[in-house]
């Protein structure tokens, strides 16, 4: 990467914060201590009002924007959104990316060493929920001296956390960006998640979650889980357009080898993912998705559940997203309206399916940028120093899509 992108936040540095105060989890268990890995971009202003927290989804991490000095190809998973001249501009905002508890990118998770035993947690790592994540994120904000977020943003499972922030800490967040999310998973979504989990737990290398002790990795199960997930993150039209029925060879082989391009693509994506991701984290993340349902404790009434919120909301969905379709976002909007919240809702015409929330789309990015400008006005952060520059070309969109490491809930 010889050309330095002027819109990049530049070289990012992962930081680590340790917490000795136990975290009581929704599951009833307690995490005695834990560490969070995070990155920040931009500068916290004098009155500490310009912080934006980025919540990651199933496979995300704290590395949201920029690159690493020793690994310039490792660009953050939402780099197209965050940086000078990008929708969330780091010349006015202080942006924080954090790896969630239970993750596998450095924060305490199933693969970490349990101090009590000196061995990896494995199957003994407790299940964590969006509420638990938000509670741990709030402690990180305490550590950074941030009383109140200018905003929390996330797509999919990340959007659920942004929503949870407004409920767990109504006085600590001005705005929530809830993108390609849902207030609770549909039956079909839970079903997909369970197939993914069954693929993992039925892999003989899973060893009941304690595969670390066996020097094994349930790569086959994790690969299958990822392949299944990946299909659901893309629209049928996009798959058809990109791969069609194209064969790797000219004729059918009448065997079970890789024949169609889509098979090759999915297996490659699955293998790549299985090499870097932790199977227990995958299980835990899918359960956190399944459990999220803020209306549950309000007798199924989402409007009542959301009545505690004081934040403004930007809710966005993508028309081709069938994993978290617009209907799910409309439910959120309906409940927000019924409880008199400030909400803006956009249904974005993008062909990519669920993954669209990670990709370039001029309308989507302009919308976020304009909403961010309104927040800037609200906190007195002034106008943009670098004007918004959109990476609008369809080519760039497809590049973003092909590098689907970022793919996922």
């Amino acid at each position: 990467m010889s050309d330095i992108d002027p819109r990049s936040v530049g070289a990012a540095v992962a930081q680590r914060a340790g917490f000795l105060e136990p975290l009581i989890l929704k599951a009833g268990k307690t995490l005695a201590s834990y560490e969070l890995v995070y990155e920040t971009y931009g500068t916290l202003n004098a009155d500490r009002s310009n912080a934006v927290l980025v919540c990651h989804a199933l496979s995300g991490s704290h590395h949201v924007a920029g690159f690493y000095a020793d690994d310039p190809a490792k660009v953050g998973w939402w780099d197209n959104l965050i940086g000078p001249g990008k929708p969330i501009d780091t010349e006015r905002f202080f942006v924080i990316g954090v790896n969630n508890i239970g993750g596998c990118h450095g924060s305490t998770g199933p693969g970490s060493i349990d101090r009590a035993t000196g061995k990896p947690y494995g199957a003994s790592f407790p299940l964590v929920t969006c509420e638990d994540w938000v509670a741990s994120q709030a402690r990180l904000m305490d550590r950074l001296g941030i009383d109140r977020l200018a905003g929390a943003i996330g797509g999919s499972l990340g959007g659920m956390q942004a929503m949870q922030w407004t409920l767990s800490f109504p006085d600590r967040i001005r705005h929530a960006f809830v993108i390609a999310a849902a207030s609770r998973l549909s039956t079909q979504n839970i079903a997909f998640n369970d197939v993914a989990r069954q693929a993992i737990v039925s892999d003989p290398d899973f060893h009941g979650g304690n595969f670390y002790a066996h020097n094994a990795v349930p790569a086959r199960g994790l690969k299958l889980a990822r392949m299944l997930g990946h299909i659901t993150y893309l629209s049928e039209d996009l798959l058809m357009e990109k791969f069609g029925r194209v064969l790797k060879r000219t004729e059918y082989g009448f065997n079970y080898d890789v024949e169609f391009e889509i098979e090759s693509y999915l297996r490659y994506q699955g293998d790549k993912f299985a090499q870097v991701f932790d199977a227990n984290t995958y299980l835990l993340m899918t359960k956190a998705l399944d459990y999220f349902d803020p209306a549950k404790e309000a007798g199924g009434n989402l409007a009542r559940a959301l009545s505690a919120a004081k934040a403004g909301f930007l809710v966005a969905s993508f028309k081709s997203d069938w994993r978290f379709p617009p209907e799910r976002s409309r439910e959120i909007v309906k409940a927000l309206v019924a409880s008199n919240k400030a909400v803006t809702y956009a249904e974005i015409d993008a062909p990519h399916g669920h993954d669209a929330f990670l990709l370039d789309n001029p309308h989507y990015h302009q919308l976020i940028a304009s909403y961010v400008d309104n927040i800037a006005a609200e906190i007195g952060a002034g106008p943009r120093k670098t004007p918004l520059v959109l990476a609008a070309s369809e080519l760039a969109e497809m590049r973003g899509y092909a590098g689907s490491e970022r793919s996922g809930e």
Partner: protein, 195 residues
């Protein structure tokens, strides 16, 4: 951008701190204005991407949806006022939109270009579909599919059970009192569900 001759009248009808739903809010200027001058709160509804973006830029809480698929997002009587400003003529089913307005709002305000305006009549007499400031489109390329006169709208109010509270026909911002259906180009109605 078409000049908003109906703005002052609408603003004069809306008490401070009313909850307002603006159907087909365009770039959101009406709602932004009502928020600034009348401390009104509420939402704009838009279907068009560019208008949604423009509304956000104007600081309006805008919800992207098709008015004609119903206002199911909104509960009965959720708003003090539901406004349909210069949008009625583009609705496929104006009657059901009006019915929904009566359901979700305590009062409704509708403004529309009066097809009975004398210039429009003159255009027809001369053998052509009218093209005017309020109806700037050629007949073959227009979003306006349901044009009506002030009298037609009165009839529709009766049909859907709306009680007209106030009715003006404006031309360039001034109320026409003499033969309004002939000399006024913009109908402005305020109504509620018949008690």
């Amino acid at each position: 951008m078409m000049q908003r001759y109906d703005y002052e009248l609408i603003a004069s009808w809306i008490p401070e701190r009313s909850r307002v739903l603006d159907l087909g809010c365009g770039d959101g200027v009406l709602l932004a204005g009502l928020a600034a001058t009348n401390a009104a709160t509420g939402y704009g509804i838009e279907i068009d991407d560019a208008n949604v973006l423009a509304s956000v830029k104007n600081g309006v809480a805008v919800i992207q949806m098709d008015i004609e698929s119903g206002l199911a997002n909104f509960e009965d009587g959720a708003f003090d006022f539901v406004i349909l400003s210069q949008t009625l003529q583009a609705m496929r089913n104006a009657e059901s939109v009006l019915t929904e307005m009566l359901r979700v709002g305590r009062e409704g305000i509708v403004t529309f270009p009066n097809f009975g305006y004398w210039r429009h009549r003159l255009d027809i007499l001369q053998g052509h579909m009218p093209v005017s400031k309020l109806l700037p489109y050629k007949w073959y390329d227009t979003p306006n599919i349901h044009l009506c006169t002030v009298k037609d709208f009165e009839d529709l109010c009766v049909k859907v059970g709306a009680e007209i509270l106030d009715e003006r026909v404006l031309h360039e911002g001034r109320t026409r009192t003499f033969m309004p259906n002939l000399f006024g180009s913009l109908g402005v109605f305020r109504f509620r569900r018949k008690p």
